[in-house]
Amino acid sequence: MQQMTEMLPETDVLPGPAGDCHQDIISLEGVTFSYQQQRVITGLNLSVRERDFIGLIGSNGAGKTTLLKMIVGLLRPESGVIRLFGEPVGQFKAWEKIGYVPQKNAFNPLFPATVREVVLSGLYGRNKLFRRITKSDHLKADDALHAMKIEDLADKRIGQLSGGQQQRAFLARALINNPSLLILDEPTVGIDAETQESFFHMIKHMHQHHNITFLMVSHDMEMIRTYLGLHQAAQSGKLKFYKKHSHDLQNCAQDDLTHSLRGLRQEMDSREEVVQVGDRY
């Protein structure tokens, strides 16, 4: 008997018959949506798995925002099923697993709120109802601010920041909960090219080195193409999906990824040094 157990093949620890260790993060089955008479989305099937980077491209009115709103439960599909982390959206409760970065111009520039207040607001979900903001919440905010290199701006009014800095603040707000899924809605609209570049650099880095799945809506074909490649993963009407997976099947056992926000800043900084040294010689 004892021999038998010892002889059990080691492959047992490997993933099941599907041969994949990655769970479905978002799945859409036959999702259809119309505004009044107009069909916006028809029979859309999409499966986003752990550590995918999905780029969603489409012209105005193609239904990008509609799709995002359905995924986060703000709109209900006419027919079809949407699941988040395997659960139907209607029953999904673990919203703290999802980070959300809005369009830059989605807020009133005169709004009296400091960067720190905005970043902290990423914590105010269902779990935090009737609870006070604790010291550890402030520490989380510090980490998120630090990771995004905006710790010096913490006490500035959010409207005083440049477009790129605001975007970092929103990213910090989205990251404060260590989300598993990050949804970005045209994050670089109205930001200059150089800032966009470094923003994408940061996003790419996070995708490669952290256990985060990305869904990014963009009209910027170039960025999507350079990172995700030309291959179209899916198409529905005018919506086009591009996909890159950062984690190969054989790497399933690998789990030494940096999860902490502190780690993120360190990695980013050390990479930058390498780049600078490389430039010098």
Binding site: V72, L74, P102, F111, T114, S121, R173
Partner: protein, 269 residues
């Protein structure tokens, strides 16, 4: 000066102090959500309720309160029907309120004099039950805000993010409207239905000029609201002016002063 020590003036002062906290507090959420006009709408509707109260012989403020709360629900419903035109629903309900009020006024011609008190405020005639109503509303509003200030902040700043965080956004929208309706119907006797929205919006407008953080802006609106109410009542009492109008004009003076001060700092530096 002896007016200041009289009993009716002291009642007025207590009522004013309470409203001076709650009205600006609700106002900051409304202004930041670009719903400044909602105060006007709710106050016009609650005047219709006051008129009905006189007509059927029920405590007018209570009927006004019921009307205002009903109107706040109606606004939310209409807002859904005209999604990107929030102000349209506000305009429709406002005219509905004025129309109803005018019909009710003419149905009971005898109480015209009393209704004027609600239009422009009649703070010196605050009864005990008026004061109790104001106190209860103040407690309700302060408790609600104290418990929900984080969530209200997120909702006001970024409604979509609030929804993605799993917050019941619809509940909060209704909550803000209902609390506003309570504050307005409780305060129309103090500043008057035609002026009450100034007490909601002008302190918030001031805080947008000077406050850096949300915390600061909450403190700022309350301080400015209180200064305007106390000084306004004193000035009105001493020089025998209309209290509601004095309070509102004082608020505007404070706003102008802050704007000039801010300009001075900019050009000075």
């Amino acid at each position: 000066m002896e007016i200041v020590t009289s009993e009716f003036f002291q009642r007025a002062l207590i009522g004013g102090l309470l409203i001076g906290v709650t009205a600006p507090l609700m106002g900051i959420f409304l202004v930041l959500r670009r719903l400044s006009m909602i105060g006007d709408t709710l106050s016009h509707v609650s005047i219709a309720g006051v008129a009905l109260g006189f007509l059927i012989g029920v405590y007018p403020v209570a009927v006004g309160l019921v009307f205002a709360v009903a109107a706040s629900f109606a606004i939310e419903k209409l807002r859904k029907a005209y999604k990107s035109y929030a102000e349209l629903s506000i305009a429709i309900i406002m005219s509905g309120g004025v129309a109803l009020a005018s019909i009710l006024f003419t149905m009971g011609k005898g109480f015209n004099v009393n209704v004027t008190g609600y239009l422009f405020g009649s703070i010196y005639t605050l009864s005990n039950i008026d004061l109790i109503t104001i106190a209860v509303v103040t407690v309700v509003v302060l408790v609600a805000i104290r418990l929900q200030v984080k969530e209200l902040f997120l909702l006001t700043f970024d409604e979509d993010a609030a929804a993605v965080s799993g917050l019941p956004v619809r509940f909060y929208n209704v909550m803000i409207s209902v609390l506003t309706a309570l504050v307005i119907s409780a305060s129309i006797k103090i500043v008057g239905a035609l002026l009450v929205s100034a007490l909601l919006t002008i302190p918030a407008a001031c805080s947008l000029i000077i406050a850096r953080s949300f915390r600061q802006s909450i403190i700022t609106v309350v301080i400015i609201g209180e200064i305007a109410v106390i000084c306004g009542l004193m000035i009105a009492g001493i020089w025998n002016l209309a209290p509601g109008g004095t309070i509102v004009l004082l608020l505007i003076v404070i706003l102008l002063g802050l704007l000039l001060f801010k300009r001075g700092i900019r050009t000075g530096s």
